[in-house]
């Protein structure tokens, strides 16, 4: 049999990178168009604002992507963000040092993720169901804890963080980099990243190959919970209050960012840079629409159409090639 390599045009090989570049091009294009269309877009103030808006969804989208790659979904992330604002606000107001307050809040996120893993692995619940259940109950628990009131955080240093910049770039955006780089290495260059993909592709084949499928699932949801709790801390810092009803619908924005970024809801396909770009594309559209005085209702419609268009073309290319 002939083993000489078939002249390959390297199919799929750089697919990820290529798709990432296309998204980046789309983002830049949007920025150029908006700079021309409205003078206020390119102002330093607005760009910082846009970066801040996009950052939090971007971090959520990264965690969400880990979960989606395993073939699951995490609907709870918005609720976890809201819940985390309450936890961190209460801790800080109770005089707990900021560093410790943040750490505890992050651990709460981890615990919620572990609980999801437990529900899926041990109780056999579908991811959609267990995370939906957490979504509603976390909001409820948060409301109980606060009696339905907002808690204003009386600590200026904590709030200053999200309003300041470093080297001219908003701190919140630095946080995206802080999360993004390890996430990238983890997903694309570590053993565990490979396992996320293999479990999403075929869990049975993975376990027969020695992959600890249960641990992989625990890990995905834990990371998603961790990201969400982290975003909760950032949000609390940004708006200065703890309120369990915050971040309503953010889970959908995170999923949308992830999907725009090339993640397949069937699992086993996804990256870190894709969802990050996806989140900033969404943020740009919202920001631009605001500046152009487009009705807020229209913004939602545009976002919906955009999701369909991008995912459709992505699917076309995947199949076509």
């Amino acid at each position: 049999m002939s083993t000489e390599a078939i002249p390959a045009e390297r199919p799929k090989r750089n697919y990820n990178a290529l798709f990432g570049l296309t998204l980046l091009a789309l983002l830049v294009l949007l920025w150029i168009i908006l700079s021309v269309a409205t003078p206020s877009f390119a102002s330093a103030n607005n760009i910082s604002n846009l970066l801040r808006q996009g950052s939090m969804i971007a971090i959520l989208a990264v965690g969400q992507t880990f979960v989606i790659i395993t073939g699951g979904i995490d609907l709870s992330v918005g609720a976890v963000v809201g819940f985390a604002t309450v936890i961190v606000a209460m801790l800080i107001n109770a005089g707990v040092p900021i560093f410790l307050a943040i750490l505890i809040t992050l651990l709460v996120g981890v615990a919620i993720g572990l609980f999801h893993g437990f529900g899926i692995v041990k109780m056999g619940l579908p991811p959609f169901i267990i995370t939906l259940a957490t979504l509603t109950s976390l909001r409820g628990i948060g409301l109980l804890m606060t009696n339905g009131n907002s808690i204003s955080i009386n600590n200026d240093a904590f709030q200053l963080f999200s309003r300041s910049s470093f080297l001219g770039v908003p701190n919140l955006f630095w946080m995206v980099i802080l999360v993004g780089i390890p996430a990238y290495i983890f997903l694309h260059h570590s053993r565990w990243g490979r396992y996320l993909f293999s479990v999403g592709s075929n869990a049975e084949a993975s376990r027969l190959s020695g992959v600890n499928v249960q641990r992989t699932i625990y890990m995905a949801y834990t990371l998603s919970g961790l990201c969400a709790a982290f975003v909760g801390v950032l949000l609390a810092s940004r708006i200065g209050i703890g309120n369990p009803t915050q971040a309503e619908g953010w889970e959908l924005q995170a999923i949308a960012s992830s999907v725009i970024g090339g993640t397949s809801l069937f699992g086993a396909v996804g990256s870190v840079h894709g969802p990050l770009l996806g989140a900033f594309i969404l943020a740009t559209i919202n920001n631009g629409a605001n500046l152009l005085n487009v009705n807020a209702f229209w913004q939602r419609i545009i976002t919906g159409v955009l999701i369909i268009v991008i995912v459709y073309f992505d699917g076309l290319r995947r199949r076509g090639k």
């Binding site: 049999m1 078939i6 260059h189 053993r191 293999s198 084949a205 027969l208 190959s209 600890n212």
Partner: protein, 517 residues
């Protein structure tokens, strides 16, 4: 179809010997692969035309073009004298072209009857006539001589039985031209005989048959003519009476093979694994040992409990009684993870369900069991990842454009090679191969058997499950025969003949599928 009652096979319109279907310069390109180079070939009415060729030669691709599953790149297909577009499966079926594909493409969650009438369900006023369909399906199945129930869920049947249902399904649709793509790969000898009877009967009724197989003896048993594909080109067509095994193999791989079953005998070393009175789901009270340097063969019908037995050894299922000893000490194997840590490796039976991550790259699939070894801390050494993957690709001659191609884009036999290949670099002491050569071509089979020898010489032991008697017969140092969950006989190398072993495996009573053994 308006009522479930339908004539089994319509009278063909052509007398035997006339050309029914002709390929003129038929060609197919996938990105990165020229799967079929322009092919000219004519099929005669009511002949059985075998197509052989090594893995990735383009056999399944040809079938996909003829059944409208994939569009062709160029060329013409002439059906009964007129060009046919064959753009959709529907069009092919309307002409009377049907296929039983290499991988069963039916709905596993539906009943056998629902699958048989999928797409043309019987209904009255929009309400499905479920009971009538089951009755009708059962009639067809009985008529074909398959001993299978029509009311059970398809997924409860063995892969072989599913394949028979797929065949039955293909015969009920006014078929004039029927293609079988490696139909016997998962069939037991008995089921294969039932299928051959069906094929001969269809031929008698004027249906033209294309029969694809890697098993030469089947080709000589059934076919009138045989065509050989190599690397997407038609090397030649022969009348079956005017050719022989050696010539076909030579045409297929462009070299000759002296000996497919390469058997080296080693003096067995220490006992690696011992099962003592082991029972579990699907098998009962099985005892056996595997020593270093020997191949222990498990023969039996599909569903005889062999796969259940080994997956229990491997920790996938719980044992209900008995002991597992590893190197003389009792061990608890509670998960695959435990098994692998001890030193076992399992290449499972079903490549689609258990063996492969189809929508991931070939390289990732090959490296999956060894990522721990090729990463330091958590980070993977990408150089090692590449070398390991490329080594197995070369070792087993896996035909793929690059290690980054998705596993799903490989031909069936090449996918099977990944299932085997991923364990070769793992360094296990006991290898369990469950139907390792399903759909693999002769040349590669010989290669895999040679690799078995290599593993043995390094002191490993092998459990080899096969439903293909010659394979276990020629390779196993110890041969255990399973029947309905029990180990019923044990033989040494060549100490019993085929008939004896077959009788032991078959026994007097037939098993009822879909239920317990």
């Amino acid at each position: 179809m308006t009522s479930t009652a339908q004539e089994l096979h319509p009278a063909p319109t052509l007398e035997p010997g006339r050309t029914i279907l002709e390929l003129k310069g038929l060609e197919k390109r996938y990105p990165g692969t020229h799967a079929l180079k322009p092919i000219n070939l004519a099929f005669k009415a009511s002949e059985i035309h075998a197509i052989v060729g090594e893995n990735g030669a383009g056999k399944s691709t040809l079938i996909k073009l003829l059944t409208g599953v994939m569009p062709r790149t160029s060329g013409d297909v002439i059906w009964e004298g007129k060009p046919a577009a064959l753009a959709t499966p529907h069009e092919a079926m309307a002409l009377g072209i049907n296929a039983v594909h290499q991988e069963v493409v039916l709905c596993r969650h539906l009943t056998v009857a629902a699958n048989m009438f999928l797409g043309e369900e019987a209904s009255r006023f929009g309400i499905l006539q479920q009971r009538a369909m089951v009755r009708e399906a059962q009639k067809i199945i009985d008529d074909l001589g398959f001993d299978l129930p029509a009311h059970v869920v398809l997924g409860d049947l063995t892969i072989g039985q599913q394949q028979l249902i797929a065949a039955a399904r293909a015969t009920v649709r006014g078929t004039k031209f029927l293609i079988f793509d490696e139909p016997t790969a998962y069939l037991t000898r008995k089921e294969a005989d039932q299928l051959f009877t069906l094929i001969r009967r269809l031929k008698g009724e004027g249906v033209t048959i294309i029969y694809i197989s890697h098993r030469m003896e089947e080709v000589f048993e059934l076919a009138d003519r045989v065509s050989v594909l190599r690397d997407g080109t038609l090397v030649g067509t022969r009348n079956i009476a005017e050719t022989n095994d050696a010539e076909l193999v030579k045409m297929m791989i462009n070299r000759s093979i002296e000996q497919v079953y390469h058997k080296e005998h080693f003096t067995p070393g220490a006992t690696l694994l011992e099962a003592r009175n082991l029972s579990g789901k699907g098998f009962e009270n099985v005892s056996m040992t595997v020593r270093a340097g020997e191949i222990v063969g498990l023969y039996g019908l599909i569903g005889a409990g062999r796969s259940e037995f080994v997956t229990t050894l491997y920790g996938r299922h719980r044992k209900s009684a008995g002991q597992i000893l590893w190197e003389g000490k009792e061990v608890q194997v509670n998960s695959e993870h435990d098994a692998i840590r001890i030193g076992m490796a399992l290449a499972p039976e079903s490549r689609r369900d258990q063996g492969l991550c189809l929508n991931l790259p070939v390289g990732l699939n090959l490296n999956l069991p060894i990522y721990k070894r090729i990463s330091s801390n958590l980070l993977i050494s990408s150089a090692q990842e590449k070398t390991e993957a490329d080594r197995q690709i070369a070792n087993l001659r896996i035909k793929t454009p690059t290690r980054n191609a998705l596993a799903s884009s490989l031909s069936g036999g090449n996918q099977q090679k990944i299932v085997i290949g991923k364990w070769l670099a793992h360094g296990a002491k006991l290898f369990i191969f469950d139907e390792p050569t399903v759909g693999v071509d002769v040349g590669t089979k010989a290669e895999i058997y040679r690799l078995f020898g290599e593993l043995l010489s390094k002191g490993a032991g092998i459990i080899l499950i096969s439903s293909y008697l010659p394979e276990v017969y020629e390779l196993a140092d110890t041969l255990h025969v399973f029947r309905r969950g029990k180990l019923v006989a044990t033989h040494g190398f060549h100490t019993a003949n085929h008939e004896e072993i077959l009788t032991q495996a078959l026994a007097e009573k037939q098993e009822k599928p879909g239920g317990q053994i």
